[in-house]
């Protein structure tokens, strides 16, 4: 279906199908819109009585069975047709695709992470090779989120303590928004990710690079700062903090190390190793001025070595 693509790009077969249903329903709706509004406005003007004119005598019409039967039956049939079309498309969206690659999606306040079959986890970006169907198995670590790709017209809530699924057919190379569609708190509107659909060769190359990096990490030959960077991605720090200088839900971490930080108490403190460690294990001890006290503690989740690696990474961010 060429469909509503002039409005916004149709990036997969699912989009074309949903747009088909859209157009079908829209056609019926526009017909009824014109019919009802037309009569409403026409009657209101045609039978309008101007100020001061006497009432014309109006006929005493209380019902008309033929007319009433028609306007119950015809819309009912159309409603059934709309239901049926919506049903067919829905079932198709929900049907498993053969030979789909399985990718695990984990939602947490306020980031998306994607785990590939080879065990790699990437935050905020879902890369797929074009033309290969994918099954997303999704769950949440905290509250309910919603996984929404407008360009695919696909959406599915992501629940804690349960798995939900979504089947994707990345038909076209490009990069598309992934939004969180179910309200999940302060950072909800920043809980976005990108779907990058790549040509097969480029994808293979990217996988190669990633795997090399992973091997390095496993062998322990990875530089401390790089380990810190990975830990920050995996632990969810980047759901709230950026490393590019813009504040998000929490303050940016760019240039933090060694800086003087204003606190909500009016005092200020220098961001040295100890302050950073405390901010990770006991975040509410000192609150940065202008930010809400909502950061969870990472005590027990990050070891002393992990924290050392993160501090090493923060030092590189100038």
């Amino acid at each position: 279906m060429p469909a509503l693509t002039f409005l916004h790009g149709e990036a997969s077969r699912s989009a074309g199908e949903v747009d088909g249903a859209f157009i079908f329903i829209a056609a019926i709706c526009i017909f009824f819109f014109l019919l009802t509004q037309g009569f409403l406005i026409y009657f209101a003007l045609r039978y309008r009585r101007k100020k001061g004119e006497p009432d014309v005598e109006t006929p005493y019409i209380t019902d008309n069975h033929t007319l009433e039967t028609v306007w119950v039956i015809v819309p009912s049939l159309l409603l059934l047709a709309i239901f049926a079309y919506g049903y067919v498309v829905f079932i198709d969206l929900k049907s498993p695709l053969a030979h789909a690659t399985e990718i695990a999606v984990t939602a947490q306040q306020w980031q998306w992470s994607f785990t590939y079959p080879d065990g790699r986890t990437v935050v905020g970006e879902l890369r797929l090779p074009v033309g290969r169907p994918v099954k997303l198995t999704m769950t949440s670590r905290d509250v309910i989120h919603g996984f929404f790709i407008p360009a695919y017209r696909q959406k599915q809530d992501v629940l804690p303590g349960r798995y939900t699924y979504l089947w994707l057919e990345p038909d076209r190379v490009g990069s598309y928004d992934i939004f969180c569609s179910q309200y999940c708190g302060t950072g909800h509107s920043l809980m976005r990710a990108t779907l990058v659909v790549m040509p097969a060769a480029a994808y293979a190359q990217w996988v190669e690079q990633q795997e090399a990096k992973a091997r390095q990490a496993k062998a322990g030959t990875e530089p401390l700062a790089e380990k810190g960077e990975e830990l920050m991605e995996q632990s969810g720090c980047l759901g709230c903090h950026t490393v590019d200088g813009t504040p998000k839900v929490g303050p940016t971490l760019k240039g933090l190390y060694g800086k003087s930080v204003p606190l909500s108490t009016g005092q200020s403190v220098t961001a040295d190793d100890d302050y950073i460690r405390e901010s990770i294990v006991d975040p509410n001890a000192k609150i940065v001025k202008g930010f809400p006290p909502i950061m969870p503690t990472f005590r027990g989740k990050l070891s002393a070595d992990d924290i050392r690696a993160i501090i090493a990474y923060l030092k590189t961010l100038h």
């Binding site: 509503l4 409005l7 199908e17 949903v18 859209f22 329903i25 819109f33 009802t36 509004q37 009569f39 409403l40 009657f43 209101a44 039978y47 309008r48 009585r49 014309v56 005598e57 109006t58 006929p59 005493y60 019409i61 209380t62 019902d63 009433e68 819309p75 409603l79 059934l80 709309i82 239901f83 079309y85 919506g86 049903y87 067919v88 498309v89 829905f90 198709d92 905290d142 509250v143 309910i144 959406k155 599915q156 809530d157 629940l159 804690p160 303590g161 349960r162 928004d177 939004f179 569609s181 179910q182 309200y183 999940c184 708190g185 302060t186 909800h188 509107s189 920043l190 504040p247 839900v249």
Partner: protein
């Protein structure tokens, strides 16, 4: 125009004669209680509107704005919760319903006047508790979805108790109305001689009585989970997060009809009076109100197509949803047919009534996309939805309320409204409303999620259009309210029946005396006998 002339004092202030705080606060008169509800709910409409204006200002820019994202979340929560729980749900039933049910059925008061007064004060007490929660304001959205609502630091428990109290007040009012309509009709007023507003209020009250307890219990479960850690909803505690949504919508879907049915009742009164024609299809309208009330209990799952509920359940709920569209469509066709060959007076109540139909058609048709499974997946939780419910609630119910306020103003205050200002306000409102909310359908189709404090810059143009529309709308509403306030004191004294209507409230003085009628009227016919008998048109 008597623009600058001093206000003419009313010869007889009727039920308004007694003045002073005590006389109002302890009154058992259904009319005074109705007026108190009206002032309370309209006040919160204006407060909720202020929050909307700030929300719209923030959305002018896509990035971080002059309020933080957290504050934005708090503001849309307050906006939604005030508008839904404290304004629309009680607005028409408790205010105009209280005032006009006894008058329309020829009774001296409601069945239980003391209970009526108690309901009002319970409502006010509930609002006070709700405001107590502002110390640590809610950021969950008016839908309270668990487990976010069981985990956030905000004062959810306090708010839940406040809403429990206002809900209790709604139940008591509903009971009161059901009994009143059954027991207190004037001699000769059979069911088929009842005005359609009464049918609508009857259906509404039944929903209120049956559905409100469910949300009350849900709020208690939520509070228990927060206070005692009992895991009803949070899977981390062994609960089920979808259970909350089922409970919530089991109440909140029927309640959208609590919001719309009373307005439909008002439209069914206004249209025949101003078209000087009998209402077309009286029984169809009356029974479709009951049908809507009944079916509305079976479709809650259409809010949950993408929630993770089973596919089969989704299909069943979608199918049932299209059944509600049938009685709703019937009503719209009947109103339009009533206009045919009428002698139509486009006075302000009629303008608002026609505007109701105009908006409600758009709201209803866009509902098709939300009821159909395949398309709902895309537009659910986007601005498409925000557009849809504002068209039905603000464009529908609130226009119905405005129609009712303009229609009954002379009866309630004993004074006429300034028509010119009323029409000017109407013009701003209809233009402002559509400029504000129509772009939301496009935004939603393009993928703009709701409840987003920040958004990708490509959506900005349409957001700016919408925000500018909200200013025009605000001007219209301001003109309308100033007109009310001014004419309450300075309007021309109104005759008993300025619109030449046939329902009973117009057969008594404006404003009515405390006991409504000198002698209780005896009813011999239905109230829509306009037009020439024996002449059935072509």
């Amino acid at each position: 125009m008597t623009e600058r002339a001093a206000a003419v004092p009313l010869a007889d202030r009727g039920y308004l004669t007694e003045r002073g705080f005590r006389a109002w606060a302890t009154t058992l008169d259904h009319k005074r209680i109705g007026v108190m509800y009206l002032f309370t709910t309209l006040f919160f409409f204006l407060v909720g509107g202020l929050f909307a204006i700030v929300i719209r200002l923030k959305l002018m820019t896509p990035g971080p704005g002059f309020i933080s994202d957290h504050t934005y979340n708090v503001f849309f929560t307050i906006h939604g919760a005030l508008m839904i729980f404290i304004f629309v749900i009680p607005a028409i039933p408790s205010s105009l319903g209280n005032f006009f049910i006894p008058l329309l059925i020829g009774a001296r008061d409601v069945a239980f006047p003391r209970l009526n007064l108690f309901s009002y004060w319970l409502f006010v007490a509930g609002i006070c508790v709700v405001f107590g929660s502002l110390l640590n304001p809610m950021d969950t959205g008016w839908t309270f979805y668990a487990p976010y609502s069981t985990r956030t630091a905000a004062a959810v428990t306090v708010l839940a108790f406040g809403l429990f109290m206002t809900g209790m007040s709604t139940i008591l009012t509903g009971l009161n109305f059901v009994v009143t309509i059954h027991k207190l009709r004037a001699p000769g007023m059979t069911w088929y001689r009842m005005p359609l507003f009464i049918w609508a209020m009857y259906a509404t009250s039944i929903i209120n009585v049956l559905a409100t307890p469910v949300i009350g219990i849900t709020f208690l479960l939520l509070a228990a989970e927060r206070l005692f850690g009992i895991g009803f909803f949070d899977p981390a505690k062994g609960g089920d997060p979808l259970l909350f949504q089922h409970f919530f919508w089991f109440y909140s879907h029927p309640v959208v009809y609590v919001m719309i049915l009373p307005a439909m009742g008002i439209i069914s009164e206004v249209i025949p009076v101003f078209a000087r024609k009998p209402i077309f299809g009286y029984k169809a309208i009356a029974y479709s109100a009951l049908a809507i009330a009944f079916i509305s209990f079976l479709v809650w799952g259409h809010h949950m197509f993408v929630s993770g509920m089973s596919t089969v359940a989704g299909v069943i709920f979608s199918f049932l949803t299209f059944f509600v569209a049938v009685p709703t469509g019937i009503k719209i066709f009947n109103w339009i047919a009533t206009l045919y060959k009428g002698s139509i007076h486009l006075d302000s109540p009629m303008l608002y009534a026609l505007t109701f139909i105009f908006h409600f058609i758009i709201g209803g048709l866009t509902g098709m996309f939300l009821g159909a499974l395949g398309t709902d997946v895309h537009v659910h939780d986007t601005y498409f939805l925000v557009g849809h419910f504002h068209y039905t609630i603000m464009g529908g119910t609130i226009m119905g309320l405005f129609a009712g306020l303009h229609y009954w103003f002379p009866k309630m205050t004993g004074r006429l409204l300034d028509e010119l200002r009323a029409k000017l306000a109407w013009l701003f409102i209809i233009v402002g409303f559509n400029v504000t909310f129509f772009p939301m359908f496009i935004l939603g189709y393009l993928g703009m999620p709701r409840r987003y404090a920040e958004y990708p810059p490509r959506f900005q143009t349409l957001h700016i259009v919408s925000t500018v529309g909200s200013w025009v709308l605000t001007i219209g509403i301001a003109i309308m309210f100033l007109n009310f306030l001014r004419c309450m004191r300075k309007g021309q004294p109104a005759p008993a029946n300025p619109w030449r209507a046939l329902t009973l409230e117009w057969q008594t003085a404006s404003p009515p005396a405390t006991d409504n009628f000198e002698t209780i009227p005896t009813v011999t016919t239905w109230p829509y006998g306009y037009g020439k008998k024996g002449d059935a048109g072509e």
